[in-house]
Amino acid sequence: MKPLLFTLKAEPDQRLDLSPLTPDRLVGRSAKEIESLSIGTTRKSVAVGDIFKVKLGDATSVRFDGGSDRFDLLGAKLLPGFEIHVEGDVGAQLGRAAKGGTITVAGDAGPYVASQSAGANIDIYGDAGDFLGAPLAGEIPGMSGGRVVVRGSVGARCGDRLRRGIIIVEGDAGEDLGARAIAGTIIVLGTAEGERIGYLNKRASIVLSEQRELGPTYVDCGAHNLGFAKLFAKSLAAESRGASRLLSGRLQRFAGDTAVFGKGEVLLPA
């Protein structure tokens, strides 16, 4: 059965809150009901029908034909068993607080992808903005489960306060990668900018694909064949061959950030 289809009519003239358009919230609704849902964020009201042409289909799967960097909160609070595909870009907070499910974005994503997501599998074929997996201001933990794969590059503070789950960046990462991370795993296949990689990292594993200098609070623990890395390599083989290859090899372990617990690590190819 074909997915429930939202075809973009024209670029929206304001930021949109697309959180009502997750498949689990659309089950059993008619096209008319869906078109009347409000998705505006300004004083000028905007309904789904003003922006999209709706074609009913299998509501467990939603497809957006056409995207915009004004598509905020897409897939927010998504539940397990549902999927969303966007043929285009999305805005901020993609998959915010999602509990499960699958989101694929063919274009770029804005900041705060997977913020406080607890289990969604998110695949972004373009780039992602700053604060991927990070909490919003005032919140304590960031992403707490699931998996995010970015085929392009990410902005600054990727994995900020990451609590659990895996972030794979196949391109480059901005400054402060894995800053304040609590636990979880971040893998970057490109270059990680800046000097504060894993700044105040408590227990997270940050895996980089190239040798580099780290901060003085990371201490060299030698090169090892790590069993857990082999498990990850096997698990990620289908999703990211590069990450799988990186984890299959011998890794140089730098323990840190010793400015806090020192139980985290940065792993570099040995």
Partner: protein
């Protein structure tokens, strides 16, 4: 006793009486096949019978690098006890003393089961707060630093209450060599059966027991009816041509696995024939009043 004849071997119209047990299992891996087998062999030692051991355990099968979670050589070990608590205690103790200590080893759950036993969660503290947990594909693992690197252990392993223990075959032959030949063939066939183990030494018991004893306080004693040296002196179950009896006890994760193990064992014994191997096959039971699982030999040939 009424008997069937299969290729010249007498098959008693009897049945094996078995009991419900709690089962668990782990996959032990290591950098080489030798060390995976060493860890598995060590952790399944002194685990022949719950009469005197904390559990019944054995090696189910070897696993290739393609079949293990971490892509290293592995061995699947099954462990059985009478209660989830006893199985948990035995498994945690045995992994802690025999696998954690074994160079290069890692431990994974062999199956999901209806419940979980905390294994990694129980022994992570050996890491003295240096241990790190990792969640991969919905499963949690502990990385415990040890002197040769890291001991990787799954946080919990599966447990099933649908297991069965005590399936058995009594293999009777002319002498020790021929009886052993048939028994070894049967043990090999049981080993090839998935989800079933033969926990006794080399899969074989030579000291089958009966319930009760002439001595006070002994719950079990030698099964004199099957002792060839007592054939004329006791109410023997043995014929004149039987000079040796060996038993295979089979535990399985399911009743089907026990039946499959017994069927495979019987098939191997019959295939060997009476000249080279056994002359008669029987099964041990307590009159059918104690164990709810009855495996009739006539249904298995």
């Amino acid at each position: 006793m009424p008997q069937l004849i299969r290729k010249g071997i007498r098959i008693d119209e009897s049945f094996a009486e078995a009991f419900p047990m709690t089962g668990s299992g782990v996959v032990v891996t290591a950098p080489t096949r030798k060390w995976a087998m060493q860890a598995a062999t060590t952790m399944t030692g002194y685990a022949t019978s719950v009469i005197g051991c904390d559990c019944e355990a054995g090696i189910d099968c070897e696993l290739s690098t393609r079949e293990t979670p971490d892509g290293r050589p592995g061995v699947r070990v099954l462990l059985f006890g009478f209660s989830p608590k006893s199985v948990e205690k035995a498994l945690v103790n045995r992994i802690g003393q025999c696998v954690l200590t074994c160079p290069g080893s890692a431990v994974f759950s062999a199956f999901d089961g209806e419940a979980k036993i905390k294994v990694g969660d129980s022994m992570r503290q050996f890491g003295d707060k240096w241990q790190i947990s990792k969640a991969i594909d919905g499963r949690r693992y502990w990385r415990v630093p040890v002197m040769d690197g890291e001991f990787l252990v799954e946080s919990s392993v599966g447990l099933t209450k649908k297991s069965v223990g005590g399936g058995n075959l009594l293999i009777m032959g002319e002498d020790w060599a021929k009886t052993m030949r048939a028994t070894e063939a049967a043990v090999e066939a049981v080993h090839a059966t998935p989800d079933a183990i033969a926990p006794f030494p080399g899969g074989v018991v030579r000291s089958g027991s009966k319930v009760g004893s002439k001595y006070k306080g002994m719950g079990a004693s030698t099964n004199d009816a099957y002792c060839p040296t007592l054939r004329g002196a006791t109410n023997s179950a043995l014929d004149a041509d039987i000079g040796c009896v060996l038993e295979i006890v089979i535990d399985g994760l399911t009743s089907e696995a026990v039946a499959a193990g017994m069927r495979a064992g019987l098939k191997a014994i019959i295939a060997l024939g009476p000249k080279q191997g056994a002359k008669r096959v029987g099964a041990g039971n307590y009159g059918g009043k104690l164990g709810p699982f009855h495996y009739h030999l006539k249904d298995l040939v």
